[in-house]
């Protein structure tokens, strides 16, 4: 309970492995969370993020590997002795207790005097901006208010580690955006180390200091939102965070520079990838792409390919265009309202970008099917099927 000590704890997972029956939930998991850091565990369902949270909270035991809090291994310690705050997806408020009784619960277990309990409860209610709701039962509160009570209950005993398991999953969009801001503010005020599980990439980007992206029971990449979005290390990370336009081709090294071969065209790219990379995907974020009807307007330091506009959607703050790429697949371009081009549906255009903003990634088809939209995939099998028929003729 000492608030003078450093407020957040360092949490380290070292080579953690957990198996349920025959299926491996997490494997080779190494993660370091800095004191006071807001770390989001992001991934699709079944990727191991919730298992990881359960191992940290103590509700699951790792089969092997270490869990350290401030350097101390806590593997065998039961949840009640770990002193971590937890917020659950469905709030898990005790229905037979009022908001104040719910919030006082962790204090009561710690045998804190009644008068001090009252002080801490009202301080926690103030932090979550829910003064005046002390005597309401959970059923008399709205979803957002219940979420605030759950949050107050988790922070009232000033835990050094705060675990949140998709806490905003049950709220509607508007309330969720609002609560994201509240959670950020509370994190700043409380200073605990936060581990936040979500499958919502926007939520992860909005909240986190760093994001750990999970896939198939392992970590794909750990980094700040900018790092993950601008410099994804794997195709999975690139596809899971945000939209992208993808060109599939081959990479090679020519005269010391990496060149991407796409539909008979040589495309320059910024890359530190080793020369062994053959099958590759060049990935560009939609807002980094420009469209134009005239290839002469594209400057020399840009790369470009010819596309046809399939669809345009006006979004007020900008425009989203779907384009047909030379290889037959679809790509996405976003234009902001201040920089809209004069291309429209059905027109031929050139699509250009700065090579600095294109990421060259190993083509890893297995993860592609998890994320990519069906419309992006469907043209390819059709093309190969046609080729197969045409061959013997």
């Amino acid at each position: 309970m000492s608030s003078t000590a450093e407020r957040g704890a360092r949490v380290v997972l070292n080579n953690v492995r957990k198996q349920y029956g025959d299926s491996v939930a997490v494997e080779n998991l190494c993660l370091e969370v800095e004191p006071g850091e807001f770390m989001t565990l992001l991934g699709p369902s079944g990727s191991g993020k919730t298992t990881t949270l359960n191992i940290i909270s103590g509700f699951a035991q790792a089969d092997s590997g270490d869990l350290l809090v401030d350097g101390q291994p806590i593997n065998g310690i039961p949840p009640r002795k770990r002193g971590m705050g937890m917020v659950f997806q469905n709030y898990a408020l005790f229905p037979h207790m009022t908001a104040a009784q719910n919030i006082a619960f962790p204090l009561k277990q710690r045998k804190i005097s009644k008068s001090h309990q009252r002080e801490l409860v009202s301080a926690a209610l103030r932090k979550v901006r829910l003064e005046g709701f002390e005597n309401r039962y959970p059923t008399q509160l709205s979803g957002g208010q219940q979420q605030r009570v759950a949050l107050a209950r988790a922070i009232v005993f000033e835990p050094r580690v705060l675990l949140m398991d998709e806490p905003l999953g049950a709220l509607d969009r508007k309330l969720r955006d609002n609560m994201q801001l509240e959670i950020r503010r509370i994190h700043r005020e409380v200073g605990s180390t936060v581990l936040f599980v979500t499958h919502d990439q926007e939520e992860a980007l909005a909240l986190s200091d760093r994001i750990a992206v999970f896939n198939h029971g392992g970590l794909e990449q750990v980094g700040t939102g900018t790092e993950l979005y601008e410099r994804p290390r794997t195709l999975f990370v690139a596809q899971f965070l945000g939209e992208s336009t993808q060109l599939t081709g081959q990479a090679s090294v020519e005269a010391g520079a990496v060149v991407f071969h796409y539909q008979g065209q040589k495309i320059r790219c910024r890359s530190s990838v080793e020369s062994s990379l053959r099958q590759a995907v060049l990935l560009i974020r939609p807002e980094r792409l420009r469209l134009s009807t005239d290839s002469r307007s594209v400057s020399n330091d840009q790369e470009m390919i010819a596309v046809r506009i399939v669809e345009e959607v006006y979004l007020g703050a900008g425009r989203k265009l779907t384009v047909r790429l030379p290889d037959g697949s679809l790509g996405t371009v976003r234009e902001s309202a201040g920089a809209m081009s004069d291309v429209h549906t059905g027109m031929e255009a050139v699509m250009s970008w700065d090579p600095l903003h294109a990421a060259l990634l190993a083509d890893d088809n297995s993860s592609q099917t998890d994320v990519e939209e069906e419309s992006d995939l469907s043209p390819r099998p059709a093309v190969t099927a046609l080729a197969g028929v045409a061959g013997p003729l």
Partner: protein, 267 residues
Amino acid sequence: MNSKHIGLKLYGAFVALILVLPTLIVIPVSFSNKSSFVFPDGWSLRWYETFFTDRGWMAASWNSVQIGLLSALLATVAGTAAAIGLTRWSRRKTSSTLSSILLSPMVVPGIVMAIGIYMLFSQIGLLGTVHGFVIAHAMLGIPFVVVAVTASLSGLDVQLEKAAASMGATPFGVFRQITLPLIVPGVASGALFAFVSSFDEVIVSLFIKSPFLETLPVRMYSSVTDDSNPTIAAAGTLVLLFTTLILAVGSAFSRSRRRKLSPRSSK
């Protein structure tokens, strides 16, 4: 629309009547002025007077209340613990086998149970004792408690217990502060049924009674063969009133609680 359903309503009323009529017939007979089971032509309270002044009837009633309360208590504690254990047990096969054993008193013919209990109790000297009655009746009451508590456990969110544990509550603390308060309706209705099942139990009681210890239903049963006067109808009416009252209070309690804990209807 209504005329279509009138046939159904009549049929429903008819079935309901068949179900309760044999029970209700004891009420007019208990106020009879005659000394036999014929339908009365005049009213009197003499059979109630006999009931309340006769030592045998009063002793049997008191025994029934006492044994009912003690056996309900025992059945409730054991049955609640069993229901929680069986629900939480990770080895599903073992737990479902054990649960059918616990529930077997509901399906095993009463006479078979009675003979078994009689033989066992005569070996260990429990025949004609209060603890013998309490143990036998508790055994018969346990299934009611297990069924009722299991039902309310299935509606209990396990996240609540996890949440309590994460906030520092000991396993017993979680049970006392979270689990028990939330399954109280199931525990209470199990206890009521256990009490009522003990209070009107005849077959086993007939086997394990002694001339010095008998329960109200046993007394009523022997009264049919020995005295055959409407005192038994008065006793029956009182038992009916008593058990109905208990169950009505129980269901009123659980209704008011449900209203308090369930989400607002205006949402």
